[in-house]
């Protein structure tokens, strides 16, 4: 298995009374609450963490969000380009730039090709559908973003893999009559594609395209369902069964010297859920496209736009739900192995560790322990028992 470090570079320094009064901590919170001197220190610290990860064999994930306390990575390709020059060894996944917000996928392809060359072929390209406050910050129509995302992916792929002069694209959402990016990517035919989703039809499409499917905090059952949809789509399309390297999962993670330390510092990561996702109703449950119309009564009456996020944010509960890996190195290795068994196989674990109020020193300690004492326990794992995973799948289907 492989371990990845995903840091959103949050800004947890806005006074609580400001956050409590704000209708949303994303999209509309004034940037006077962001001190650029503090931001500069945060950038330095996180880039230092990336350098450490490069030395110890933990791969790096970048992303972007806009106009809020949850994320200071305003442009994933910019940050990923810096990481490409700061590091020498590990893989770098941009997960990703917001392709449903950006007007020209050809520019996105060109930026990624540049990073792939800069990094000598260490780039993986991830796609996220985005939504919510990002549609407002980027003034992107929130309707039909799934169709827009797929057309953007198709255009990016064709831009990365066409080498014989300009081609023309006149699609539903994007028009570019003269596509001819320079440089072309270092990896041939192109860098690996990933997508973050738990939407079952989208997982099925990822399966047909052999893209890496990653889930974010989905817990055991949702993750299992998503991966099963991926595998089923491949069977139905007559494609070979996917390897575990097609599957990825992002969880909150903290590796301490002891279980107590892991859970205590892991608890600080819950800031992501308790504070950083506060959003106004017009940016969430009432945003067009947030729910299918037939689901609106349920969503609007209960207040949840999508499946409810976990409400019990105690670190031990999050661990029990498969949303956090925390404890001493042996405990965390056991948790990850158990997760792999319950979801039917997985190669990539993305650790969200430097999150919320977790400090630079605490993050570096966790990464060091993860690389030195957890990662070796995750190598050369025996194949999963096919009978047992089939039984788990049936039980999951029956529970639906």
């Amino acid at each position: 298995m492989e371990l990845w470090n995903h840091c959103e570079n949050p800004y947890p320094f806005v006074p609580n009374e400001v956050l409590e009064q704000a209708e949303s901590v994303r999209a509309s919170l004034p940037n006077k609450y962001c001190d650029p001197k503090i931001a500069a220190r945060l950038y330095d610290e996180v880039f230092d963490e990336y350098r450490l990860c490069d030395d110890i064999g933990i791969h790096i994930v970048t992303n972007e969000h806009h106009s809020g306390i949850n994320n200071l990575w305003a442009a994933s390709p910019v940050i990923t380009g810096i990481v490409a020059r700061l590091t020498r060894n590990v893989r770098i996944l941009s997960l990703g730039t917001l392709i449903t917000v950006r007007p020209d996928p050809v520019r996105v392809a060109e930026e990624y090709a540049t990073i792939d060359v800069l990094s000598r072929g260490r780039l993986d390209i991830g796609f996220v559908k985005s939504g919510a406050t990002e549609m407002v910050s980027g003034d992107a129509n929130p309707m039909r973003i799934r169709e827009r995302e797929w057309e953007a992916i198709d255009l990016i792929e064709k831009s990365l893999t066409s080498h014989d002069g300009p081609f023309s694209w006149e699609g539903k959402f994007f028009i570019h009559p003269h596509v001819n990016i320079w440089p072309r990517p270092y990896q041939q035919p192109r860098p690996e594609f990933w997508a973050a989703t738990s939407d079952l039809p989208t997982c099925a499409e990822l399966g047909r395209r052999s893209m890496v499917n990653t889930l974010l905090f989905g817990g055991y059952d949702r993750t299992r369902q998503a991966f099963d949809a991926y595998k089923k789509a491949r069977v139905e399309a007559g494609l070979p069964a996917p390897g575990e390297d097609r599957f990825s999962y992002m969880a909150f993670a903290y590796v301490g010297d002891t279980d107590e330390e892991g859970l205590r510092i892991g608890q600080k990561i819950a800031w992501f859920l308790t504070v950083s996702i506060k959003s106004a109703p017009q940016f969430s449950k009432f945003q067009p496209g947030a729910v299918a119309p037939e689901m609106a009564p349920q969503a609007w009456r209960t207040g949840a736009a999508r499946r409810p996020r976990p409400t019990n944010l105690d670190a031990e509960i999050l661990v029990g739900q498969g949303q956090m890996f925390a404890g001493n190195p042996d405990t965390v290795a056991k948790q990850i192995k158990e997760f792999r068994r319950r979801v039917g196989g997985i190669e990539h674990i993305i650790m969200m560790t430097r999150q919320g109020l977790v400090t630079h020193a605490e993050a570096e300690k966790s990464f060091t322990l993860a690389a030195r004492e957890v990662l070796p326990q995750l190598q050369d794992l025996p194949p999963l028992d096919a009978d047992e995973t089939a039984w788990l799948a049936r039980r999951g289907a029956a529970a639906e």
Binding site: V136, Q282, F283, F286, Q287, P288, W300
Partner: protein, 280 residues
């Protein structure tokens, strides 16, 4: 919400339609709805039907009208409504456009149609008049429902039950049924498809309103803060010969807040002689 039974065919498109006052022999009144279709419970309907036959389709994607594939621009709606005018069995039709539907009606009037006889715009959106840092039209999707509700009504406490205007989200949890919510969600999604960006206007429309040749009445709720009366006055000045009238005690939906005053204004306009110069 209206029953799905009554339909109107316009070319290849079939629309849900609400009719009232059929057989009256009066004017044909084509209502072009705003963010939601006209509710059959709206009190102004019976009052207005005394002055003509009301034909109120639901736009594609609204109410029970299907949304054709790839149908998502104002261009589509304008040509659809030109087709609706073709389909109305009359030589002369008065179009009344409300809010977002006022934008559609203004576009149709600019395009012109031989049957279009008169135009009534009620708190319409559709044009950009202020400077680049002035917001002419409140952003319906980025503004909180509570704020929209405050801005849209003269007195939010007296919103008519069953008619949902801007700020309708704040009525969830009152008497709203599940099926109403499903329809409102569908309407909201479709509105977004057509009007997210530029938000509720066509940057070019103001250059072409001079081509409107039919008598026009522009009605405005005096308390409208979704689009203000000042915006309305400037809008009406772009339409040759248009008359601008305010309705007191009403916000963005004067037909819902002051149905009697609204209908009186429309009736008086319908009875006015056509003052346009007759062709030689």
């Amino acid at each position: 919400m209206s029953a799905a039974s009554d339909r109107l065919r316009a070319g290849p498109h079939e629309l849900e339609v609400l009719r009232r006052g059929a057989g009256s022999g009066g004017a044909k009144l084509l209502l072009v709805h705003g963010i939601n279709p006209v509710s059959p419970r709206a009190p102004f309907l019976d009052l207005l039907a005394e002055h003509g036959e009301i034909i109120a389709p639901s736009h594609p994607g609204f109410g029970n009208s299907p949304l054709p594939a790839d149908f998502d621009t104002m261009y589509d709606l304008v040509h659809l409504y030109l087709g609706v005018l073709d389909a109305v069995p009359a030589d002369k039709v008065t179009m009344l456009g409300f809010s977002f539907g006022g934008w559609i009606a203004a576009e149709v009037a600019v395009s012109g149609h031989r049957k279009l006889d008169r135009l009534v715009l009620v708190d319409p959106v559709g044009v950009k008049l202020g400077g680049r840092e002035e917001r002419d039209i409140a952003h319906l999707f980025n503004t909180s429902p509570d704020e929209l509700n405050r801005r849209a009504w003269h007195d939010p406490a007296r919103r008519p039950e069953g008619s949902y205007g801007v700020g309708w989200h704040t009525a969830i949890g009152e008497a709203m049924t599940d099926s109403e919510m499903v329809t409102l969600a569908r309407n909201w999604d479709s509105l977004c498809l057509f009007a997210w960006r530029p938000h509720m206007y066509n940057p070019q429309l103001k250059h072409w309103l001079h081509r409107v040749t039919v008598p026009a009445l522009v009605l405005w709720g005096a308390s409208d803060r979704i689009v203000t009366p000042d915006y309305g006055r400037a809008y009406s000045r772009l339409i040759p010969g248009a008359r601008f009238e305010m309705i007191e005690g009403a916000g963005h939906h004067p037909e819902l807040e002051q149905p009697r005053a609204f209908v009186d204004q429309v009736a008086s306009f319908l009875n006015e002689p056509d003052r346009r110069a007759q062709p030689a």
